[in-house]
Structure formats: C-alpha cells, structure tokens
C-alpha cells in the first residue's frame, strides 16, 4: 500500500460515523434493488419452469357446450400444436364445521393423456382412479386453511344436486398459481377452491357426456396467435364460445404479471430514491473533504502528481465508501430477497421455488451504484483536479461576509452577535446552505413516501367497502333470472334490503384498444351498492350510456362523449355501440357501469338480474347464510366482511410488509442525511468556533452558533420536505396503477407529522452528538495546524 492510500484509509477512519451513515443509505438502496429484482427474477424463472414442465396452455376459451368431435377440426388449424377439451363446472362446496358459503370450480382431468396441458402437481396423496366413490384432488390453497388431507370428504352442489367427494390428493396447477374466484379480485383461499375430478366422473355429474365446455390450446412456435384467435372465435361461436384469449388475460397469469410489474415498480422507485440520496450524501461529504484539502491537493500537484493521480486518489475514497455499502447491501439484499420470495409463496402457489442467486442483478446493481457514485461526485473531483498548484502557496483568502438581508430588514437590534453569525454564514454560502436544506427536506420527503401507503390503503378500503359497497352479502345466481328471485331473497328472514344487479362479461373496443372486463348494471335508487365521485358523494347512473372507471377509460383511450363498441360474451352475444356518459374514480377493479334496464335492453334481454346485494340484520347473519346456502339457484354468496379481511390478509399484508421495510430504511436515510450535514458543518467551522472559544466565548455560546445553523436548516427543510414527499408519493402512485387496484393519493396529517417528528429527532440527536464533539474540541490542536 502506498502512502497516499494510507491517507485514504486514515481519513475514512476519521469520519467513520459519516462513512457508515452513507454506506447504510447505499446499502438500503442496493438491498431494495437486490431484494426486489432477485425475487422478481426468481419468481419469473420459477413460473417459466413451472409452465414448461406442467404444460401451461397458450390460449384459453370457455364455451357453452361443444361435441368432442370438434377437437379434431380445431387441431387442424395451422399453428395449433395441440388442443385439449375439458369440462369445467362451478359448484358450491359444503364443509362440516364451516358455515360460510364456499365457491368451487370443478376441473376435469384426463388421465389417459400424458401430454395434457395444465397438468397437476401432486403435493400430497395420489391421482384419482375409478372406483365406487368419486375421488378428487383439491387445491393446496384451499386445503390448507381447512386442514383437508387425503382421506377427508367434502360435499358439493353441482347443478343443484348434492354429491359426496373423496379427497385423494392435494394438488397445484400452473393455471391456478394465483387462486381467485372468477369475477372477484381478491383471493380468498378458504372460500374458494379448485377440485380436479376424473373426466368421466365429471361428465356424468355435469351432464356433459361426449362434450366439453373449456378449451386449452398449445401453439406451435411460429404461430400467429392473433390470426388463430380469430379463427377459433369463428369456430367456437356456434357453441357459445366466450372468446378465445391468451395468457395475458388468463386470470392467474394476469394477476401474477401485475404483481411482477408492481414489484418491479417498487424496486425501481425506491432504489432510485435511495441511490439518489446516497449520491447526494457522498457528494456532500467528498465535496467537503476536497474543499478542506485545497492546499494538500495543490501541493501534491506541486510535487508532480498528475491530474489523473489526484482524481484517482479521491475516487478511491468514494469507491471505498461505496464498497462498504455494497457489501452491506448485497448481504442484506440476499437475505431479504429470500424471505420476500418465500412470503410470496404463500400467495402464489408454486410447487417449488427456484430461488437463485441472481448474479446478473447483483453485478448490474452494484456497478450502477459505483458508476452513479463516481459520476455524481465527478463535479467535486473535477474541482480538485482543476485547482492550480500555485494555490498551495497561499493561505485561503478570508471570506467576504456581508451584513445579511435579514439584518438589513432592520431586526438587527433584536439579534445577538451569535445569531448574526449564523445568518451571515448562511448568506455567505447560499448554495451550501440550500443543499443542506434540500438534503434534509429529501429525508423528510422519503419518510412521507415510505409511510403514506398505510393511509392510502385504509382510505381505499374504507371508500370501496364502507362507502361505496355497503352490502353485507353479494349473491350470485347460477343464471340470470327474473326479478322474482329478488323478491324471494327479500323474504329471507334477516334480509333488510335486497338490490338487484346484472353483470355481463364483455370485451370493450375503442380504436385499436380493447379490454376484457365486465359491465355491471344496477339502479340509481340503490342505497347499498353505489358509485361515488372523488368527493365520495353518490353518483346517479345515467339512463343511457356507460360509466367507465377512469383507469379503464385511459386504457381504452376514450373520454366522455366518445363511443365504444361492446362485444357481449354471453346471452345473444351482440356487439353494440355505447357512448361514454362519464368517467368515475374507482380504486379497485376495472369495470363499466350502466343502468340495469339499459344494460338489459342493450343485450336485448328482458328484465333479468344476475344477483343481488343484501343488507342483513345484525345477529341474523348466520340464519340468513344457512338459508341461502341451500337455495339451488344460487351460485355463490360473498361476504363483504371477509373480502376486506382477505384484502388485508393478501394484497394489503404484502404491500404493508414491503412498506414497513421501506419506512424503516427511510428513518435510516433521514438520520444519515441530517447527521452528515451536522458533522460537515462541525468540521467546516471547528476552526472558527475554536477561535471564538479562545476569544472568550463560552461553550454554550459557541454551540449556539453551530446548532443555530442546524436548527435553521431543519426548520427551513420541513415545508420543502412536505412538498417533496407529496410529489414523490404522487409519482409513485401513478407508477403503481394496475388493473387490480389503484392506490388513492391520500396523505393524512399524521403521516406528515410522523415524518417531521423523525426529522426533528434526527436533528436533535445529531445536534447532541455534534455538541459533545464541540465541547471536546482540543482548542490548541485545532488552531495549530491548517486544515
């Protein structure tokens, strides 16, 4: 090690507190990137491998009923490698000792076809075989909360008939990695389950002998999927085809992709912020080291060190700090990433997890950090390089101070000498002071982004579930029926109010955009289930036209007054033009809304309903539920309360874990910035303050000058910090928008208060540390050598 390198190490050791603070901020950024992206990559790779090994299909379609002989014609379409017909049946599941309604999905499996698509992975037990009893597999996500195992039985109601099933195995499938009931957006593992049954048994149970109502397609590599989808749609139309779609619209795949997108977004946002802050800090510290070493740099040049050598010398300082951050960040990132990936495994049902050390992620993130750090501090380094060696020969010119603007305002007489010194120093170094204010403000802003999520989530759940959808139960009928059903529901004891709704799955088209979703129709007179505007007052549904969720309108590229074409995927399967009557603000889901009568008219159907929203008298929930459970026309009953619970248990839980982690880091950052700032101020002014001590100022008076400056910086930074937090949060929310939900832009006062509190506490602690250092200043040695 040469002598200059020794200088680097000594100087780093001297400011080890600051070095550690910066390294931690760097580590925070890096670990977020590594955690997010190694989880993301690992999950993506796992999904890919799973899809490969278990033959996840390329195209999907459900239809009413088609003869098995049609399959042959399908496979003749060029580009289709394989087609697999299946029977799917919606069922209701009854479990002993569990009273809530459970929806289920029966899926046929074809044991005789080894090349079947969407193969099941048997976690426990075995495949069903033909026997006296009906043997089935059930999904792991459903089995776990109910502690079901091979050997247990369950009862289903299919087509209004009760049947006893024997569980022989617990299974997973690439189709149901994200297990969610159709039409809902929040997974509820205990109230929705998948049941796999042998094809023959299912055909019998569902009256589908020799027929199928679900089609999976495997494409050849060079297939033109758009063209094939068109051909298939034409082919399946007579059989009640609901539209062929690709993986992007397959529920599980779609949600998983959205989640991946979100992980990507969070990873990039936070790492960007953290990286930015660490470079800011680095620049602050290195800039100050370089400024204080003017003469040293100049004399090194006078001794014949080249510009390159000088630049390299100071770069080493940066590289070392970054390296400490990298070591901390990579190790934390690996541990956290592994944990995060396993947390995901609770919601996403993969048979295995390929958690791999993502060397690419690590290399990419660390080298980006290093390069960014060097680029970010390039300005300071260049300043060092550009110093003329003759500078070494001169002592620093005393700085020119002015009477400050504030003093000139005439309040001079109210300011004691030390206060004037604080102000003058501030005015003398406006850029430096602004940077400090900005750094502290940023710390405050990061705190806000890190914590406002909790407000936003609560707000979202509250508006969606307590203000907009105030029903206790949502009942779905097996087939759209007349309003008589509504009166029957109304007569169930305990039901206080029943409101009808009609839903229709559709594909909306506007220009080159299209989106598959549902239109919900209900009446403007609804009290339970309503639409709200941004002020949370109820919107009445216009008699004609459609209301679109804002995000959906954006996706379709339409605005009020435009016309969209709606292709109904059920009933008479008409395609109709509807004008956009309004755009509404909704946080969860993406739908269109119409007046129920207008919707029925549009579909050319009579006055029918798909189900009803019910309000239940308090205490009567249990009786009402058990009556509903036994009504044969009912496909499912969803409980509002459990939706909220499962929202928090899944999506919410997940986001909040991530956010807890991030807000923890924000505290570290806030402290890092403020502490560094305090230390730098101390270092810059210790000579001056020591001279004052020598001149007879007391410790307290000298501390006042220093702490006064820090206090002023903190004070000025708070309003700016709130503004930064506001804008950062806004940008973040825009980035996180997705089909599943949009986080509302809500920052509650306590979030601001909390951020301010952290900033003030950090400032106080830093101030105390600095004050202690100041009291320990060795006056003689400070004054003896030039810094």
């Amino acid at each position: 090690m040469n002598t200059l390198d020794r200088k680097v190490f000594r100087e780093l050791w001297l400011i080890r507190g600051q070095v550690l603070a910066i390294a931690i901020v760097i580590a925070a950024g890096l670990s977020t990137v590594i955690m997010s992206y190694s989880t993301l990559e690992s999950l993506q790779q796992t999904r890919e491998r799973y899809y490969q090994e278990y033959g996840f299909a390329d195209l999907f379609s459900s239809l009413k009923r088609a003869p098995l002989t049609l399959v042959q014609r399908i496979t003749q379409i060029p580009g289709i490698a394989d087609a697999e017909p299946r029977v799917l049946a919606p069922v209701r599941i009854n479990l002993k000792n569990y009273h809530d309604p459970i929806q289920g999905q029966l899926v046929s499996i074809d044991k005789h076809n080894p090349d079947a698509m969407n193969k099941v992975y048997i976690r426990e037990g075995r495949m069903p075989v033909k026997s006296q009893q009906i043997e089935v597999l059930i999904s792991e996500a459903f089995a776990q909360p109910h502690q079901l195992h091979p050997g247990d039985t369950l009862q289903i109601i299919v087509n209004g008939r009760k049947q006893q099933l024997h569980i022989v195995g617990i299974a997973l499938s690439p189709e149901f990695i994200y297990q969610i009931a159709p039409g809902t957006i929040i997974p509820d593992f205990s109230r929705y389950g998948i049941i796999w049954m042998e094809r023959e048994a299912l055909e019998t149970a569902y009256d589908m002998q020799g027929a199928f109502n679900d089609l999976s397609i495997k494409l050849t590599l060079d297939a033109d999927d758009k063209l094939i989808i068109e051909k298939l749609d034409d082919l399946l139309k007579p059989y009640g085809g609901l539209g062929v779609y690709d993986r992007n619209l397959q529920v599980s795949h779609h949600f998983l992709s959205e989640e991946f997108k979100q992980l990507d977004e969070m990873g990039s946002t936070f790492s960007f912020i953290f990286l930015g802050v660490s470079i800011f800090l680095l620049n602050m510290v290195v800039g100050r080291i370089i400024a204080s070493q003017r003469e040293i740099i100049a004399s090194l040049k006078a001794f014949g060190f080249s510009n390159m050598a000088i630049a390299f010398h100071y770069s080493k300082l940066i590289i070392l700090i970054v390296c400490i951050g990298i070591v901390l960040g990579v190790s934390a990132g690996l541990i956290l990433g592994n944990n995060l990936a396993h947390l995901y495994m609770e919601y996403y049902r993969f048979p295995y997890l390929d958690y791999q050390l993502q060397v690419k992620v690590i290399l990419y993130s660390t080298s980006t950090t290093l390069v960014a750090a060097l680029l970010g501090t390039w300005f300071s380094i260049r300043k060092a390089v550009q110093l003329q060696p003759a500078e070494a020969m001169r002592p620093e010119v005393p700085q020119r101070y002015n009477v400050t603007f504030i003093e000139r305002l005439g309040i001079k007489k109210y300011l004691a000498q030390p206060s004037r010194m604080v102000l003058r120093h501030f005015e003398r170094h406006p850029v430096k002071a602004l940077l400090s204010v900005f750094g502290t403000a940023f710390a405050c802003g990061i705190m806000i982004v890190g914590t406002f999520f909790i407000d936003a989530m609560d707000y979202m759940v509250n508006t969606e579930f307590n203000l907009s959808q105030r029903e206790d139960l949502t009942v779905t009928l097996i087939n759209p029926t007349s309003y008589r059903a509504l009166y029957e529901l109304n007569n169930i004891p305990g039901v206080l109010r029943a409101e009808a709704y009609r839903t229709a799955s559709v594909k909306m088209h506007a220009g080159s955009h299209s989106h598959r979703t549902a239109i919900q129709g209900f009446s403007s007179n609804n009290v339970l289930h309503r639409l709200l505007d941004t002020q949370n007052t109820a919107i009445s549904i216009p008699d004609t036209g459609i209301l679109l969720t804002e995000f959906l309108a954006q996706k379709l590229g339409v605005k009020i007054g435009d016309s969209i074409s709606v292709e109904f995927l059920e009933g008479k399967r008409l395609t109709r033009q509807v004008h956009v009557a309004g755009v509404i603000n909704q946080y969860i889901g993406l739908s269109g809304y119409m007046n129920i009568d207008a919707l029925n008219d549009l579909m050319q159907e009579g006055r029918v309903i798909s189900g009803a929203y019910l309000a239940i008298e308090e205490g009567a929930e249990y009786t009402a539920q058990s009556i509903l459970k036994n009504l044969p026309q009912i496909a499912g009953v969803e409980e509002q309360k459990s939706m909220v619970e499962s929202f928090y248990a899944t999506v919410g839980d997940f986001m909040l874990t991530y956010i807890a982690f991030v807000s923890g880091l924000s505290i570290a950052i806030a402290f890092g910035v403020i502490y560094n700032n305090a230390r730098i101020t101390l270092a810059e002014r210790s000579r001056e303050l020591a001279s004052l001590r020598v001149l007879g100022f007391t410790q307290a008076e000298v501390a006042y000058i220093l702490l006064g400056e820090l206090g002023l910086i903190t004070f000025l930074s708070i309003p700016l910090g709130m503004l930064i937090g506001y804008w950062l949060s806004y940008g973040f929310i825009i980035g996180l928008q997705q089909d599943l939900f949009r986080i509302p832009f809500i920052i509650e006062p306590p979030t601001y208060a909390y951020a301010i509190l952290v900033v003030i506490c950090s400032a106080l602690i830093s101030g105390l540390i600095v004050r202690r250092k100041l009291n320990q200043l060795d006056l003689v040695s400070v004054l003896k050598i030039k810094e």
């Binding site: 040469n2 003469e295 100049a298 014949g304 020969m393 040695s781 030039k786």
Partner: protein, 236 residues
C-alpha cells in the same frame, strides 16, 4: 560566471484580476539563475517573491514573457510537461508547510519519494533536518518549526535538480534555522542543486552566491557575493 544557465526569465509579468482591480504582482522580470548556485530572493511583504518562485517551480504561468528551464519553455509547457518537470526536477518548500495532517512526518516525505526518480530514503531526509526521533508523529503533534523541517525534508528527499524554498526558516529559532540552512547548503553543494530561497531575513543573503532584491514586482538590485559565509557565521 561561466556555469550553465538553468533558469532564464524574459520580461515576465504576472497580473491578478480581482474583479475590476488589477494587481500587478510582477512587472517585467529579467533574470538568469545558474547551475549549482545558491540564490536568495529578498523583498518586502507583497513584493512578488512567492509569485516569482511559483513561476520558476512550474506552479503558475506568467501573464506575459518567457521563462525557460534549460530547454523547456515553462511559459508554454503543457500540463503534462509541467507535471513531469515538477515531479522529476523540482523540490519545493512552501511558505505554509502544507503537510498532510492525516500522514505522519515519515509518510509526508514518502508521498514524494514514492513518485521520484532517484530519491533518498525518507528517513534519511528526516535525519538530515534533525527529526529522526519524530518520524512517526502527525503534523498536529509537531511544533511549527518541526513542521517546517518536515516540509524541507520532503523537498530535498527526491534529490532534486532545483530546490525552491519559500521562507524555509520563517518559523525557526536561530539554532534550528542555521541547521536547516546548513542542510540546504550541503544538499545544494553535494548534488550541485540550483537553489533559490525566499526570505525576509537580509542576513541569510550572506550565504548566497547571488542576492536578488525585489521591490513592487520589479528587480531593484542583484548583488553578487564574492565570499559566501557559511550558515553558522550568519548573524540573525
């Protein structure tokens, strides 16, 4: 004088722009320095001594005029040429020592010897200035004079062809001052170093071959000493 010309200055001026004020630090200097000679530059504070020395040392460029070190025109040399000129030919002692606070005395010297072509041992250089027992002290642990001697050790350690010293004895008492000057004398004799020393102290002039008097940026007088006194004969 028939020895070789090492430095040649022709019409050197140096003007500092201070906003709208111009400070004329040097106004037309013509000067030659000869190989192996010991020159002393005398002048009042602010007369331009340090500015002159900086230009000789390749630390600063003149505003006009030409300055040569042997065949190298310093006034038009590239950054790279100046760097290697400073690295391989010049030993510099700064008026304000400029030691690196985070390095010990020994290390402060090593910084320079590590990049020089034919240096002496760093410890040897410190021994020459009488600091062998303080080698592992940090600048903050040294007195002002000791710091100045480290600065001198650092300059002579690379066995330079040219030794430029800006008030090397400013902070020293008589005895130490004499020791330091003796060291400079010995080094310049033994190595045939061309030496220029700035001082306020007129008596040091007696040990020089030549004394250059500066006044308000101009050379007012150049005096040749027939007999050089040895440092311990100087009266302070």
């Amino acid at each position: 004088m028939n020895s070789e010309v090492v430095f040649q200055m022709q019409g050197i001026t140096r003007t500092y722009e201070m906003g709208d004020v111009q400070v004329h630090a040097l106004r037309g200097i013509n000067l030659k320095l000869y190989a192996g000679q010991f020159a002393v530059i005398l002048g009042m504070s602010g007369s331009g001594k340090s500015t002159l020395l900086n230009i000789l040392g390749g630390l600063d460029l003149p505003s006009s005029g030409k300055v040569y070190y042997k065949d190298l025109e310093l006034s038009h040399a590239s950054e790279k040429e100046l760097t290697s000129y400073r690295r391989y030919h010049v030993g510099f002692v700064f008026q304000f020592y400029n030691l690196i606070p985070s390095l010990t005395a020994l290390e402060n010297v090593s910084v320079v010897t590590e990049i020089a072509a034919h240096p002496m041992q760093a410890s040897e250089a410190l021994e020459l200035v009488g600091l062998s027992d303080r080698m592992n002290h940090f600048p903050a642990q040294l007195s002002g004079g000791q710091q100045q001697r480290v600065a001198i050790a650092r300059a002579i350690a690379k066995n330079p062809a040219v030794l430029l010293c800006d008030e090397p004895t400013g902070a020293l008492d008589i005895q130490t001052g004499i020791t330091v000057l003796e060291t400079l004398d010995v080094v310049s004799r033994e190595l045939g170093t061309t030496t220029a020393v700035i001082t306020h102290n007129a008596s040091i002039a007696d040990m020089a071959h030549r004394v250059i008097y500066l006044n308000d940026g101009q050379i007012s007088k150049i005096q040749q000493n027939k007999i050089r006194k040895s440092p311990n004969e100087l009266s302070w």
